[in-house]
């Protein structure tokens, strides 16, 4: 199962997705880290710039990555009750 | 462990602190675990010169009560907080009765000085001599 690396930016709290060489605000830019995930966390965590680094399980879909847990889908899209703030990565009703 | 940060002018009493269970009357330094009952030491405060109190984790807060109880009982020797402690807790520690800290990560004395003079007024009496604002208001 593909895994993505995600966290929140220290300065802003923004939800971030690891996009291969840098972070993106959008899950559609994320790249699967799979077996490299733990090593990436071990490298990035000591820099103390991204909080709550975690690997999450996703499924590939024609619309892009779909996190398996409701929690991570909410993080990827925005609050389901405020579609006006939804990020463009996934449709709100995908939550 | 880093250096001990002391707010006392007297020479450091360096005798090893013995655990409360092994403490013998007349002993001058004792070690209290976070959950130890500080009141058991009250009969021995005349002999004691240093009491170390353990803070095994940041969330631990029983030591604040222990220190305050010892000061309320009249202890004037050193009360040393030992463990997971940060400079930003100094005001709580000193007002509760601690006058030395042995933290896991070093305390920057410049930051400590700033921290200790940060709040110009306090709302409640504690073990230090600082008057609470209700006394200042009363006087005004």
């Amino acid at each position: 199962m593909p895994r993505l690396l995600t966290g929140n930016r220290l300065e802003t709290g923004d939800v971030l997705w690891w996009a291969g060489s840098d972070w993106s605000l959008h899950i559609r830019d994320a790249v699967a880290v799979d077996d490299d995930g733990e090593a990436l966390i071990a490298r990035l965590a000591p820099q103390e710039r991204i909080n709550d680094l975690v690997l999450i399980d996703v499924d590939p879909t024609p619309d892009g990555w779909r996190p398996r847990s409701t929690r991570e889908r909410v993080r990827a899209v925005g609050p389901s009750v405020r579609p006006d703030f939804a990020l463009p990565s996934l449709p709100v009703d995908a939550i | 462990m880093a250096e001990v940060y002391r707010l006392r002018a007297d020479p450091e009493h360096t005798a090893p602190a013995v655990p409360l269970a092994e403490y013998q009357p007349g002993g001058t330094a004792v070690w209290l675990e976070a959950g130890d009952d500080a009141r058991l030491l009250v009969p021995h405060l005349g002999a004691l010169r240093r009491i170390d109190i353990a803070f095994p984790k940041f969330r631990e807060g029983r030591g604040y009560s222990s220190a305050r109880i010892l000061r309320e009982a009249g202890f004037t020797g050193e009360i040393r907080a030992v463990g997971v402690l940060y400079v930003d807790q100094l005001m709580f520690l000193t007002r509760a009765g601690f006058d030395a800290v042995l933290p896991e990560t070093p305390i920057d004395p410049a930051v400590a000085e700033q921290t200790l003079k940060r709040f110009p007024f306090v709302y409640m009496k504690a073990t230090d001599a600082v008057q609470p604002v209700w006394e200042l208001r009363e006087r005004a």
């Binding site: 929140n8 220290l10 300065e11 802003t12 709290g13 923004d14 939800v15 103390e48 710039r49 909080n51 709550d52 409701t70 929690r71 909410v74 993080r75 925005g78 609050p79 389901s80 009750v81 405020r82 703030f85 | 976070a34 940041f58 969330r59 631990e60 807060g61 029983r62 604040y64 009560s65 222990s66 305050r68 309320e72 940060y86 930003d88 005001m91 709580f92 520690l93 000193t94 007002r95 509760a96 990560t105 930051v111 700033q114 921290t115 940060r118 709040f119 110009p120 007024f121 306090v122 709302y123 409640m124 009496k125 504690a126 609470p132 604002v133 209700w134 006394e135 200042l136 208001r137 009363e138």
Partner: protein, 543 residues
């Protein structure tokens, strides 16, 4: 309204400077996140699902128009134009940036507000009766007693690292609008035979994972002993409360393990030791604070009779106003529960409008209720129609106080990192479904939490809903029979849980059964449930 003096202002200003320094040290990596997190939490700053969330303290739920306008300004300047009023009478902002926090806190301090101790294992914001100083049923305004506690608990050197968070509520009325039996300490102002005011002290109530009702440990505590007695309770808890398991660390567990009588004995023993230390301020300090809460000058000739010929207006007056102690005046509750909207949310524009109304019509005061509504406490009945018209145009005239669509809901999994399920969508669906028949249903309190911590007070709901995670899916348990009022009880789980649509249907079935069971149209759902028990409802839902 309490006004800061030079001392109060200096403490709040120092707190802003302290946090500015702490944020700067964190941004420069001079301190680790591990060391910084407790510091930001003690300033009410959480990292939630989408961003930081800031919880601003609203002591005992009272603000004036100037402060409400500042809350609106913060929503616009630092957030996305709205805020969320909480079940602890505070306000939360959902889209905060750490780097902007020092400026935000400085803005708050400029109107005598702060975020002190809105998180962390310390004494939290003191809550109180939203109708304080206005309700006909109170013996005295509880807020001076709450303000004294606010000051005493601010940066307390001994009680800032308690086993767990600690919540205190104060009421001045036997009609309990502050849920004092569901707080770590609940205080009720009472009078002795000589007519002197003292405090009845309850300890060990709370919701969350192990809900319990508080126990009276003192029927009458003289005001002169107030703070030293609080010190004694907190010291017994700080020393002996469990620290090995955060789910068993609240004072209710200690009180329950020791038994209320033994707990009370230990408090009295400790109190005998701390009382001589001179921790209690003189009576002049309470008097000084109380002088700030002098009631507004009211119009003695305010007319009682008003024109109620507009039926929508008459309905709103009947549902959303409450008797005031002064004739010709009333207490207005502004519902933040328009069916389909997010419970407790208010836009910056709405906050500004409410601030204007408070200034114009309500003695310049606004209260936040634990049911996530706002209150204008001192309104001339003769001004009600003008006020109502403004509310109508702002979308704030929903007439549903304490009715089926006046639903309490925590932010749930739409925002909160602790949540297991979304709670707002459930509240929205139920409110839309139930609003058309709510007049017939009468008082019905529905409360929704997205996790076991119970910020949505599901255990105190006539109908409570608890969101849980079941194998990765959102699942909802149905509870019946709770109350947070003077007749407090804890709601009980009815049976197996439901999915999002299933829970809405289940609530509808419960309500349909209630309509066939009620003794007369005036019997509340809660009273019917208490009379007939859970069985008929179980059969209606699962049968």
């Amino acid at each position: 309204m309490y006004r800061y003096d030079e001392y109060d202002q200096a403490v709040v200003d120092a707190r802003v400077a302290e946090f500015r320094d702490q944020v700067e040290r964190r941004l420069k990596n001079e301190i680790s996140e591990e060391a910084f997190k407790p510091l930001r939490l003690m300033n009410g700053l959480y990292l939630q699902l989408h961003a930081y969330m800031l919880r601003v303290a609203i002591p005992y739920g009272t603000v004036d128009s100037r402060q409400m306008r500042m809350l609106a300004h913060i929503a616009r300047r630092y957030d996305r134009g709205y805020g969320h009023f909480t079940t602890r009478q505070n306000i939360q902002y959902n889209w905060m940036k750490l780097e902007e926090m020092p400026d935000l806190l400085a803005d708050l301090a400029s109107v005598e507000m702060h975020a002190f101790q809105t998180s962390g294992n310390c004494i939290r914001n003191i809550s109180s009766d939203q109708f304080a100083a206005a309700a006909a049923d109170e013996i005295a305004d509880p807020r001076p007693y709450a303000e004294l506690l606010r000051q005493w608990s601010t940066l307390h050197p001994e009680f800032s690292f308690l086993p767990r968070k600690f919540k205190i509520a104060v009421t001045g009325s036997t009609i309990d609008r502050a849920a004092i039996k569901l707080h770590d300490i609940g205080l009720e102002l009472v009078q002795n035979e000589a007519g002197e005011i003292g405090l009845k002290v309850l300890v060990g109530g709370g919701m969350g994972r192990t809900p319990m009702l508080g126990h009276v440990i003192r029927e009458y505590l003289p005001v002169a002993d107030y703070l030293s007695y609080m010190e004694a309770i907190l010291r017994v808890y700080n020393r002996h409360g469990r620290r090995d398991n955060i789910y068993k660390a609240r004072i209710k567990i200690l009180v329950n393990d020791l038994g209320p009588a033994e707990f009370a004995r230990q408090v009295e023993e400790e109190w005998a030791l701390v009382k001589p230390l001179g921790l209690d301020p003189p009576p002049s300090e309470l008097a000084r604070i109380a002088a700030h809460f002098a009631p507004p000058v009211l119009d003695a000739n305010a007319p009682v009779e008003i024109d109620l010929s507009n039926p929508d207006f008459a309905n709103w007056v009947a549902v959303n106003t409450h008797p005031h102690k002064a004739p010709g005046y009333t207490i207005v509750t502004i519902s933040l529960k328009a069916p389909g909207e997010i419970p407790g949310d208010a836009s910056a524009d709405q906050m500004d409008i409410i601030a204007d109304l408070a200034q114009r019509y309500a003695g310049d005061e606004i209260r936040v209720t634990h049911a996530q509504n706002l209150v204008l406490p001192h309104v001339r009945r003769a001004d009600l129609f003008d006020l109502w018209q403004v509310l109508v145009s702002a979308g704030l005239a929903t007439a549903n106080l304490d009715r089926a669509s006046d639903i309490i809901s925590c932010p749930g999994l739409d925002y909160c990192t602790l949540a297991n399920a979304r709670s707002i969508p459930i509240a929205q669906k139920l409110a839309v479904k139930l609003a058309p028949q709510e007049a017939d249903l009468g008082e019905l309190k529905i409360k929704v939490s997205g996790c076991i911590n119970g910020c949505g007070h599901h255990h105190a709901g006539h109908i409570g809903i608890l969101g849980v995670d079941r194998k990765g899916e959102e699942n909802y348990q149905l509870l019946l029979g709770g109350s947070g009022a003077e007749d407090a009880t804890l709601a009980k789980i009815l049976g197996p849980g439901f999915d999002e649509n299933g829970i809405v249907t289940a609530v509808e079935k419960v309500i349909d059964r209630y309509k066939t069971l009620r003794a007369d149209p005036a019997e509340r759902f809660l009273d019917t449930y208490r009379r007939v028990g859970a069985e008929p409802f179980k059969e209606a839902v699962y049968g």
